[in-house]
């Protein structure tokens, strides 16, 4: 099966979907989370929606997303995006709120303005939590990938798993699941490495 060219195509297609959904969810989730954590007004404005949306069953939206976004790549990326973006935002907002008051206050007594505090204290202080959040939520992204590929896909690991079921090829399905696990482990390791290289001053709260 490894020599089979289709498998490589599946891996690349699925990884690309996960990366796209994950990156969009990061681009939107990180600033929204920081804004919610920093500004009371932003938390009042977005907090209720974001926290509620986290409980929204994305699986139930799959048929609707296909109606709205078609059966192309866009719908798959959207499913992954909506699956994790709300988690990104709430987890990062909480991380900002957990910055000790003293840390912020000491900056003010050194002459910092609110803007300085945001750029020079809140952002660097939450950076480790942002990386930890992304590291936890990329696992979620793979879950939603399989979900998105169960319906209307021509390739991908999730798609191959469903097709294997149809022909009772449980070994093939298991193998695809295993591949997802291995990719997950590798990304996790990559995150760990980035953390240690970029943030030598911090300690990760995720083991």
């Amino acid at each position: 099966m490894l020599s089979d060219g289709d498998l490589m195509v599946d891996i690349i297609a699925s990884s690309a979907r996960v990366m796209a959904g994950f990156i969009f969810a990061a681009i939107v989730g990180i600033p929204v989370g920081i804004a919610m954590g920093t500004f009371y007004s932003m938390d009042s404005l977005l907090g209720g929606f974001v926290r509620t949306a986290r409980y929204m069953p994305i699986a139930a939206f799959v048929p609707l997303i296909i109606i709205w976004a078609g059966i192309d790549e866009a719908s798959k990326v959207l499913i992954i995006f909506f699956g994790i973006v709300f988690y990104n935002a709430t987890m990062i907002a909480d991380a900002v709120k957990f910055i000790p008051n003293e840390t912020l206050n000491v900056a003010y007594t050194l002459g910092a303005t609110r803007r300085d505090v945001l750029a020079r204290v809140i952002l660097p202080a939450t950076l480790p939590n942002i990386l930890d959040t992304l590291r936890v939520n990329i696992a979620g992204a793979w879950n939603f990938l399989v979900l998105s590929e169960l319906i209307a896909a021509q390739n991908g690991l999730g798609f191959t798993i469903v097709r294997s079921q149809r022909y009772l090829q449980t070994d093939k399905a298991m193998f695809c699941i295993l591949i997802i696990c291995v990719i997950g482990l590798l990304t996790d390791f990559a995150f760990k490495l980035v953390f240690q290289l970029c943030l030598p001053w911090a300690e990760s709260k995720v083991s």
Binding site: N105, V106, A107, Y108, T109, L110, G111, P124, P200
Partner: protein
Amino acid sequence: MQTTFPTTLPQRIATTAAKLEIRNIVKVFNSSKQPKLAVDHVSLELAPNEFSCIVGPSGCGKSTLLSIAAGLIKATSGQILVDGIPVPGPGADRGMVFQHYTLFPWLSVANNVAFGLKLKKMPKAEQKAQVAHYLEIVGLSGSANAYPKELSGGMKQRVAIARALANEPEVLLMDEPFGALDSQTKEQLQSFFHDLWEKTHITVLMITHDVEEAIFLSQRVYVMDRSGKMRETVDIGLPQRRELDMKLTPEFLAYKKAIIHMLR
């Protein structure tokens, strides 16, 4: 035409003499079911180069008062004046050293000390000299490139003091800066900080619940009680130059006894 000059002039002269003036501060917290009076009409003046401590039981509002002086909490009424001028919010003129979470963990020791200087946009070369100077003063030149997590508790507090001093504030406010340290490190730092004050003669207002520490370091000790009122002011008539052994002298112990009785 009558001018208001004569009535305001004496007042202005009186206030410009003080480096920091806490004028009639009241703080009421409304968060709980019934409003809580945390600070009840407290006034005090800190002369230039004076080192004073506020002691009081926990929950007496002393930390709240210091935060108000720093501009970090808004007072219900009253004013904070630096060199006779009311200050509305926090600023670099009132440096502060806290008990916990004092350093920015993502910055090296040198960059922690340079934090305020960068905000002031001081030229790089000057920054470097200033940082080196103050690290030298606190005896941590060798740790300039270390991250805070590599330092002991006492070293962290010394960096925090260097960072506050490097900014050259008018007044240094300290909120139980040695409270989280073990007793030996604490005594070392008290002695270190006394020497530092002897050298720099910066104006300091410090909060502590350690009566010995207050007497050892300051010229004047303010005693607050549980109701948020300033109860007594004790001028410490000990010699300027102080050694740790002084804590065992009869005069020192007499001050200690008197203040402990006030706190009861």
